[in-house]
């Protein structure tokens, strides 16, 4: 119960001010496309330069927590996920908003984010030593199978036709091969100089979600379809809390999967949200409603991506191995303050680390309060006329894309992808499998190449053995097979209906 001793350090006027400010700004930044949690934390690190280590880390932790939740706001209200972690939220969240239930959707989002977030921090506080050992067991081949598991859901996620789902996924995987490959040491498909850096995940995300939305809004405006809704729903806070806590299954699946994925180095929130959404859907009685505005989908996705935050710090703090892309940036934030991760960090930097972890708990509460407060005013955004909305999203999309690498090429890639996606969506293709392909492609490919090299050296050329031995590998392969079989089975069943 050592962590209780350091709560007093959090409750100073300065630290509370940092937490409130960090959370508020974090939710807003998270909601802007392009300013993903990774980007926001990275931009903030130089500002913590002159702060005391504790204060700097408190601010970074609040930012990490709040941006992950904030990304859901734009996912729900305008169908543009603020970060890759919120893709799954958009699928049901925006449908709910369109049904005039945006306030309700945002309530569910922040309440389940809070539950998942607290769950994750509790895991971080009590189970760090054993889980740190576990996280090292997820090596090259295990990560390869996790990526494959993600790919198995491509066909069935968010599209009615399996063929179209697979084609979109394939398109995403192909986009992911563009640019420099560090394992092979070659450049691939670099037809023009603009493609040297490849298709960044967040650039892809903005292009595939924000741009088609801009074009849709413009189309609506010119066809005089007034889609702007001022209704935000009549749900009360009490009924929202009751609903979320009544979804114990979705909450626990989300929090568990989020925590496990958080511990695994190299995965992260984007995978946590989608995998947990998919699993909850498979176990749910209402699986037919998923993708049509089912609140359970929001609960599953948001509890997962926030429960990932705490556990992603476990390998970071003890092994100096980040559990998510944002944790990787946070490593830089620790180092500039002279805090060096390692097993003895809870001894050598006791005060700083426990204060930081305690502040993460408080950040969850603040995220909940500020989030619920903002939900009440979601009607403002829903009331914006289509033409203003289109311009607003477009400006933010360009600004957000440029800010990722200060690169004009990224903006060109974003606009081109968005235009392709706009027409593809008319033909029934979905953006979700494409983004999934961009995210999972490099993880699967690079780990396959590395595993093949390592396995070849270990098993005298017989590298396949390296991929198929070990408890975790066999478990993951079994889950992949179950996932595909179940997908085929449920597809048949729904066709026979």
């Amino acid at each position: 119960m050592e962590f209780l001793d350091y709560f007093a350090n959090v409750f100073t006027l300065y630290h509370i001010a940092l937490l409130v400010g960090g959370t508020f700004v974090g939710i807003i930044l998270g909601a802007l496309p392009g300013l993903s949690p990774t980007m926001s934390v990275a931009l903030l690190i130089p500002f913590t330069f002159h702060m005391e280590p504790e204060s700097g880390l408190i601010l970074l932790g609040a930012m990490y927590t709040a941006t992950v939740a904030g990304g859901a706001i734009s996912a729900i209200l305008v169908n543009v996920p603020g970060a890759p972690a919120n893709i799954a939220t958009a699928m049901d969240g925006h449908k709910m908003a369109k049904q005039g239930k945006s306030k309700e959707a945002l309530h569910y989002c922040f309440i389940s984010s809070f539950v998942g977030g607290i769950f994750g921090v509790v895991i971080l506080i009590f189970f760090t030593p054993p889980l740190a050992e576990l996280s090292l067991k997820f090596g090259t081949t295990e990560l390869f199978w996790i990526a494959i598991l993600g790919i198995t859901i491509i066909a069935t996620i968010d599209s009615k036709s399996v063929i179209k789902g697979l084609l979109s996924g394939l398109f995403g995987l192909m986009l992911a091969t563009i640019g420099d490959n560090p394992v092979l040491g070659v450049e691939r498909f670099v037809f023009t100089e603009h493609l040297t850096g490849g298709v960044n995940i967040v650039v892809g995300l903005i292009g595939l979600f924000a741009m088609p939305q801009v074009l849709n809004l413009m189309e609506n405006y010119y066809s005089q379809k007034n889609a702007a809704l001022s209704a935000v729903g009549s749900s009360t806070l009490m009924s929202s809390f009751r609903y979320v806590f009544g979804r114990a299954k979705a909450l626990s699946i989300g929090s568990m999967i989020g925590s496990i994925i958080g511990i695994i180095p190299g995965a992260g929130g984007q995978i946590a949200g989608l995998v947990s959404y998919d699993q909850t859907k498979k176990f749910s009685k209402n699986s037919d409603n998923y993708g049509k505005g089912e609140p359970e989908g929001i609960v599953a996705a948001e509890s997962a991506n926030n429960s990932m935050v705490g556990p992603s710090l476990i390998p970071l703090l003890t092994l100096s191995i980040p559990g998510s892309p944002t944790a990787a940036v946070l490593l830089g934030g620790l180092l500039i303050h002279g805090i060096f991760p390692g097993h003895e960090i809870f001894e050598t930097n006791k005060e700083v680390i426990w204060t930081f972890i305690d502040s993460l708990i408080l950040a969850q509460f603040l995220m909940l309060f500020i989030g619920l407060f903002l939900s009440r005013h979601s009607g403002w955004i829903m009331k914006v006329p289509d033409n203003y909305m289109a311009v607003g999203i477009f400006v933010l999309a360009v600004f957000g894309t440029y800010s990722i690498g200060n690169s004009y090429s990224d903006v060109l890639i974003m606009v081109s992808l968005g235009t392709i996606m706009f027409f593809a969506s008319k033909a029934g293709f979905s953006a979700v499998p494409v983004v999934l392909g961009i995210i999972l492609g490099p993880i699967a490919e690079n780990n396959f190449l590395l595993g093949k090299l390592i396995g070849g050296a270990r098993f005298d050329g017989n590298w396949i053995l390296y991929f198929t031995t070990g408890t975790i590998n066999i478990t993951l392969i079994s889950i992949c097979i179950i996932s595909i079989t179940y997908g085929v089975y449920s597809n048949r069943k729904s066709k026979n209906k």
Binding site: L136, V183, E187, G198, S320, V329, G332, P341
Partner: protein, 328 residues
């Protein structure tokens, strides 16, 4: 006649004096007015939060002081393709007026300019000074059966190709260290190019690979999980005084893989500005507060002047062209 001659020569003398003055003032203007308090950009070809990024921020902390550059330096990140995106932009599009610098990483950018079709090479960049040097070290996990370089090489001798060594991708310092190590030891070893230094370190800690080449700074921090067998440098390092160099262990590897970091401007920047910056930048790196911060963040400092960096770049260019000749 005589008077006329005197007035004429007096006039000439005055005129030439005035001209000289104007010229002198011109020089004074150019060097005194730059930077004129206007902020100077420094492009980092890697993402924010990484080692190059935060070291660049620390190294340029003191730039605003009048004793140094007299203008603040702001960092702009252009990450992508192992640094190529940023450096390509820098060599081809950055303004050559002294208001845009960039951080270099040697041997990375030199090796890339040899292997890939890049817009940059040592001839179109002008170094200003070097702030840090992070040598590669040979590491194994704490549970590894190997305790010395000799044991590792003996195993490689008995099992050709079975010894795997990780590093942060291809054509970076770690890869250069590996190539030198394999060449000098004459053993058949397998290089495992991970995606970045952190990932390469993970492979070693988890025991997936037999050994790894990684940054001295990062490895020294993780000393509890690792055994550090040797330093790929010409002399031992103050952070690890008990760790031998590879040369001491009997493998002839020099300092060609050491990751040098410093500042540069594009070719075409006016010579007086280059000279001005070259005279101020090393002193700025040596600022007391900056050095304290470098130390507290475990960033190994090594300050070199423009001329020393020019020599170092040329040496690397010649050496790496030979080493990488068969690998293109």
């Amino acid at each position: 006649m005589k008077i006329k001659y005197i007035t004429k020569s007096a006039f000439l003398a005055i005129a030439s004096l005035v001209l000289l003055q104007v010229q002198a003032a011109g020089i004074k203007y150019a060097s005194g007015e730059y930077p004129g308090g206007k902020p100077i950009g420094a492009m980092v070809a890697y993402g924010p939060g990484g080692a190059t990024d935060f070291q660049a921020r620390i190294a340029t902390l003191a730039s605003g002081k009048d004793a140094f550059i007299g203008a603040p330096i702001y960092i702009i990140n252009k990450p992508g393709a192992g640094g190529r995106t940023g450096w390509n932009w820098f060599a081809s599009e950055a303004p050559a007026d002294g208001y845009m610098m960039a951080a270099y990483n040697v041997p990375h950018f030199i090796a890339q300019s040899i292997v890939f079709d890049t817009k940059y090479n040592i001839n179109n960049l002008e170094p200003l000074g070097n702030w840090g040097a992070d040598p590669a070290v040979l590491i194994v996990s704490k549970d590894s059966p190997f305790n010395t370089v000799e044991e590792l090489l003996a195993h490689a001798e008995a099992n050709p190709g079975a010894v795997t060594i990780s590093g942060a991708g291809k054509f970076v310092g770690h890869h250069i260290a590996f190539l030198q190590f394999a060449k000098a030891s004459g053993k058949k070893l397998t290089y495992i190019p991970a995606k970045g230094g952190v990932d390469a370190l993970r492979l070693v800690k988890a025991g997936e690979v037999s050994a790894g080449f990684n940054n001295l700074s990062d490895s020294a921090r993780s000393a509890a999980d690792l055994k550090i067998l040797a330093v790929a440098d010409n002399q031992r390092h103050s952070y690890l005084p008990d760790v031998r160099t590879l040369k001491e262990a009997g493998v002839d590897v020099d300092d060609s893989s050491v990751n040098f970091r410093g500042l540069m401007v594009p070719k075409g920047t006016p010579q007086n500005i280059v000279d001005y910056l070259a005279s101020k930048v090393p002193a700025m790196f040596n600022d007391k507060k900056t050095q304290k911060k470098m130390k507290s963040t475990n960033s190994p400092s090594r300050i070199l002047t423009r001329d020393e960096v020019l020599t170092m770049w040329k040496e690397r260019q010649t050496y790496l062209t030979g080493l990488l000749a068969g690998l293109k």
